[in-house]
């Protein structure tokens, strides 16, 4: 298996991990809506995952950039820019005092990210298979 194969295998695993993170986020948000969890606990829990998620995604994007996978990198660039912008603005963390006001936005964001990771998961899978086939030929 060549470099591209390994890279996309890694990307598939990362995408799966990110996918699960998003599912976790969405479940937590619905829990909050159903009053199973209070906003303070929710924010404490989710805030632990916010930065790791952003870093993981940024790491993946950097790998694509360094290995010259332009299409894959460009796919990830918008989300990377969005995340960086949020961190620079200082509003990437969930704020327990405002959570109910911004809950619809947070849910929407999480759903869009979920969809994005799902698509990118299949795209990486496809690229991995293509790379493997190219290797074996």
């Amino acid at each position: 298996m060549g470099g591209a194969g390994w890279l996309f295998l890694f990307a598939v695993l990362m995408a799966a991990g990110l996918l699960f993170t998003m599912v976790f986020f969405i479940i937590m948000f619905s829990d909050l809506e159903c009053d199973y969890i209070n906003p303070i606990d929710l924010c404490n829990k989710l805030n632990q995952f916010v930065l790791p998620e952003h870093i993981a995604h940024a790491f993946l994007a950097t790998l694509f950039l360094l290995s010259g996978q332009w299409v894959a990198f460009l796919l990830n660039a918008p989300l990377l820019a969005f995340n960086i912008n949020k961190i620079r603005g200082g509003n990437h963390m969930y704020d327990a005092t405002e959570i109910f006001r911004s809950l619809p936005n947070h849910k929407k964001e999480s759903f869009i990210k979920l969809g994005f990771y799902l698509l990118s998961f299949f795209y990486y899978l496809y690229r991995m298979i293509v790379a493997l086939i190219a290797d074996s030929e």
């Binding site: 009053d35 303070i40 327990a96 005092t97 109910f100 006001r101």
Partner: protein
């Protein structure tokens, strides 16, 4: 139903026609007959009251309506509400489609409506005699000859559909009338038999809870047509002035609640199954009546269910049994965090504060002797005071390690107020002197808060912070971010947001530990009120701001001492949670006010001070089929006397499918309060500019909605700007909001003042908020002789004038007050006699502008002026004590401009005058339809 013969005008008889199965009406004098019921001529109304039985006799319901009573009083014809709509039916649509009829029909409805309102000025009832000369506005005076017409109005009200009636008014021709703001909100016309109690108190008073519309649209699409924001304005815990009825308490701990929706039993439930079960008014579930519900536990005998307070009162308090406690009721705990840095000592804040605490030790609620207090002083170090019980001397413990705060002693820091009273008194007496020579500059507010939190967290209670400088060291240190260059730009809202996350996370910790924080801020420089106000905001406290406080000015000291004393004496609620329940298909969508939202509809309030207002936006999720809906606010709390209680506030509002009823019952005061809250939120999350645009656009939307659905103009252009009579003051209130310090477009407002004004806008109850955005303006030199003397309802106040400087005369003496400040405006040609009488100075030139205490002199005019000022300070709820400023017409410009900025109907800088504002609105309203 009685036979129609009873309802006929004199001279008519009804005969049963068997072939046609209906009544034939015969006029006995002429022999003329007709099928249609005869119309009672208008001369019938108001003739002899004796002939007609009171309407209550007619429809056998327990509840009497005010309109019905009026009718009985005036002896109007005795048509019951269920009678066919005789007579006035054709008039009704005409009334809906007559914008600006004041101009067209001389003595038409508009004038009549004015008279009705003249008649309803209960608050200032004994007024109509003032005739102060031609410059006075002609207030609706009610000549007795018009009584018949008035009765006619009420008669009509009861004959047609029972509900609010819509009167259209033209904003272009009818200037704002300050007296209208003092009127009660539009009446709530509940359908018959909806309430099981005849008591007029079955619906909560509007000062506790009011809805922005008193006839709820039955679907979201209807609400969207009206464009009126739907919301509730709550002040569940308001103070009671002398003579007001206290909230009844249910002491027998029998609390009937719906099994499904947990609604408390209230006057709008129905008893079914022979009184053994009750049907919930919100979810219609049938519940069992508790066994002890009909048992009088005090006398141990069967009691009268119908006399129970919760079935007769809209506001009621239950004593809660142990199921409502997670721990035994906590004692009240107060920790005073006093800034003793150089600036605080120099300004005299410490001396004033300690003296105030000392003087108010008796007023701190402590009936059961459980109240605990502690004092922590701080500059860049923390000073704890150990107060051993039994009169021993207090001992000061200094902690200068502010990175890792610890309590220097496990005991005696937080002490029982009554046990350590003597020690506490000596400490308070000495505290200011102890730090007299303190030259430390800087403030470790963050570490001080953490220390206080460690001390108080096991119990919960109130931390009172008195600080006169920007927190500069330790956690929570803040930077001076005031930058005159960005004031008035789009970046300004950044200054209104919290600068440091510490104050938010700390607020959350406090909320969890049932700790509430009150902020008293005194800085003369920038103190970042916006960030510090976060703490009271999320812990249900309140912020008080005394910019450039200096105790050597007695007025400053008096104001602070009065307000601080009032706050200390408040019987606060502790460990409270508030939940608002509403009928099916209604949902509380967002919450405004000082609290922490703990779950989708649960508001956590570690301590509830009196007279704070909360606003809640309501959404209609689906079509409402019930004839009326109920809003119920429940506040579970511990009183400061150690009793667990539930305060329940219930308001029922009828549901309507008729857009005109929605408009006719809209409550402009509640709408303005809700809009103020929304505007402040928007200015923080978006920009100030956006908040102003949103306010303006909301006003335009309402006017467009009214024009297109309620006036003949429809979607086309119109020369008038129509709105219903009860919303007539809304544009001027919106203008007042646009010009208020918290929202106003200006590059001169320091961010601290703006942040404080915003804190006020979101927490003042309507009674205080309305004068804050639409100040009161009185002419004192020409007030009628009875004003300022004591009448039946206390001191008689002069009539308020519209807020425009056209009213200012050069020789006059005026009073302008907005609930926070009083301005005494002296015209430049004020006669020496007036200056001598009021200020004890020989002439106008000797008079100095600025903060003063007005002398009480030995002449009637001075005493009357003082009485008016006194009354102004006392007539509202809340701890605020207004500063009095003398403003000379040719005095120093800043003060003059400040006073003039209260006259919101005038043009100021870029801000439009009322006339301009109205024509802007009109252009928008007409422009949108092309």
């Amino acid at each position: 139903m009685a036979s129609p013969s009873q309802q006929l005008p004199p001279g008519w008889a009804a005969e049963w026609d068997a072939t046609n199965q209906r009544y034939l009406f015969v006029e006995t004098t002429t022999g003329r007959s007709q099928w249609e019921p005869p119309v009672a001529g208008p001369e019938i109304v108001g003739q002899e009251p004796s002939g007609s039985p009171p309407p209550a006799h007619h429809h056998g319901k327990r509840r009497q309506y005010a309109a019905g009573q009026t009718q009985a009083y005036y002896g109007g014809d005795s048509l019951g509400p269920s009678a066919p709509q005789y007579g006035n039916v054709p008039q009704q649509p005409a009334q809906l489609f007559t914008p600006g009829l004041a101009a067209t029909e001389g003595g038409g409805q508009f004038a009549q409506q004015q008279q009705i309102q003249g008649g309803q000025q209960g608050y200032y009832a004994q007024e109509p005699e003032y005739i102060n000369g031609p410059q006075q506005p002609v207030y609706p005076v009610q000549p007795p000859a018009q009584m018949g017409a008035l009765a006619d109005q009420f008669g009509q009200m009861n004959m047609g559909q029972k509900g609010p009636r819509l009167f259209t008014t033209n904003l272009l021709t009818s200037p704002p009338e300050p007296l209208e703001l003092r009127q009660p909100p539009p009446e709530i016309f509940l359908p018959p038999n909806s309430c099981i109690s005849p008591s007029p108190l079955a619906n909560a008073d509007s000062s506790y809870q009011r809805c922005t519309v008193n006839a709820l649209p039955n679907s979201n699409s209807l609400l969207n047509k009206a464009k009126i924001p739907l919301g509730l304005i709550l002040t569940p815990y308001r103070s009671l002035k002398e003579g007001e009825e206290p909230v009844p308490v249910v002491t027998d701990t029998v609390i009937a609640r719906c099994r499904r929706c947990r609604t408390y039993i209230n006057p709008y439930v129905q008893f079914i199954d022979g009184g053994n079960r009750w049907r919930c008014c919100m979810c219609s579930l049938s519940n069992e009546v508790p066994q002890l519900f009909d048992w009088d536990q005090a006398r141990n005998q069967p009691g009268d269910r119908w006399a129970r307070a919760e079935l007769n009162h809209g506001v009621v308090e239950f004593v809660a049994p142990t199921e409502y406690m997670v721990r035994p009721p906590q004692p009240a705990v107060y920790i005073f965090l006093i800034d003793v840095s150089h600036t605080a000592i120099q300004s005299g804040m410490v001396a004033t504060a300690t003296r105030t605490i000392l003087e108010n030790l008796d007023r701190i609620p402590d009936e059961s002797g459980r109240t605990k207090v502690s004092i922590i002083a701080f500059d860049t170090s923390l000073y704890f005071f150990s107060l051993p019980p039994g009169g021993a001397d207090s001992q000061m413990l200094v902690v200068s390690d502010i990175d890792d705060v610890f309590l220097p002693k496990p005991t005696d820091l937080l002490v029982n107020l009554s046990e350590a009273r003597a020690t506490l008194e000596t400490l308070l007496g000495r505290l200011s002197d102890m730090f007299q020579d303190n030259h430390t500059i800087g403030s470790a507010l963050g570490p001080a808060l953490q220390a206080a939190f460690q001390l108080i967290a096991p119990i919960g209670g109130k931390i009172m912070v008195l600080s006169s400088s920007l927190p500069s060291v330790g956690t929570g240190a803040l930077k001076n971010r005031e930058d005159p260059k960005i004031l008035g730009t789009s970046k300004e809202s950044g200054l209104l947001q919290a600068a440091s996350p510490f104050y938010k996370t700390f607020a959350i910790d406090c909320s969890r530990a049932q700790v509430s924080v009150d902020m008293f801020l005194f800085s003369s420089g920038y103190q970042d009120v916006a960030t510090l106000a976060c703490l009271p905001h999320y812990t249900a406290g309140q912020t008080y701001f005394y910019p450039a406080f200096n105790a050597s000015r007695t007025e400053d000291a008096i104001k602070f001492a009065h307000e601080f004393g009032e706050v200390l004496a408040q019987p606060i609620m502790l460990e409270a949670v508030m939940r608002v329940r509403a009928s099916k298909n209604l949902r509380m969508s967002s919450f405004h006010g000082n609290f922490f939202v703990r779950s989708t509809d649960l508001l956590a309030m570690p301590a509830v001070p009196q007279d704070l207002s909360y606003a809640i936006e309501v959404q209609i999720e689906d079509t409402i089929t019930a004839p009326f809906v109920v809003f119920q606010t429940a506040v579970l709390h511990t009183t400061c006397y150690g009793e667990r209680r539930i305060r329940v506030v219930t308001t029922a509002v009828p549901v309507t499918s008729n857009l005109s009823e929605v408009f006719a019952s809209a409550d402009q005061v509640a709408i303005a309060t809700l809009l103020a809250n929304k505007a402040v939120e928007r200015s923080i999350t978006h920009k100030l500019e956006d908040a102003r645009d949103a306010l303006f656009n909301k006003m335009v939307e309402i006017l467009i909605a009214y024009k297109s659905s309620m006036t003949a103009a429809g979607a086309g252009a119109s020369a008038q700007l129509a709105v219903s009579e009860n919303l007539k003051m809304l544009p001027v209130l919106v203008l007042g909001l646009l010009k208020s310090v918290g929202i106003r477009q200006s590059a001169q407002i320091p961010p601290d003042l703006r942040a404080y004004a915003q804190a006020l806008l979101t927490s003042l109850p309507s009674q205080l908020l309305i004068p804050y955005i639409y100040p009161n303006f009185y002419a004192l030199h020409s007030m009628p002789p009875e004003c300022g003397t004591v009448g039946e309802q206390g001191v008689i106040m002069p009539a308020p004038l519209p807020l425009t400087s056209e009213r200012l005369e050069r020789h006059g003496l005026y009073l302008i007050e907005d609930g926070q400040t009083i301005f005494l405006w002296v015209g430049r040609d004020a006669v020496p006699q007036l200056v001598i009488d009021v200020f004890n100075l020989p002439n106008y030139e000797m008079l100095r502008g600025g903060k003063v205490t007005l002398p009480v002199l030995d002449n009637p005019f001075s005493q009357r002026v003082n009485a008016v000022i006194q009354k102004t300070r006392e007539m509202r709820r809340g701890p605020y004590y207004q500063h009095l400023y003398i403003v000379k017409e040719d005095g120093e410009p800043p003060l003059r401009l400040w006073a003039l900025s209260c006259l919101i109907q005038d043009r100021a800088d870029v801000l439009p005058s009322y006339q301009q504002f109205i024509s802007q609105l009109k252009d928008k309203v007409n422009g949108s339809s092309y």
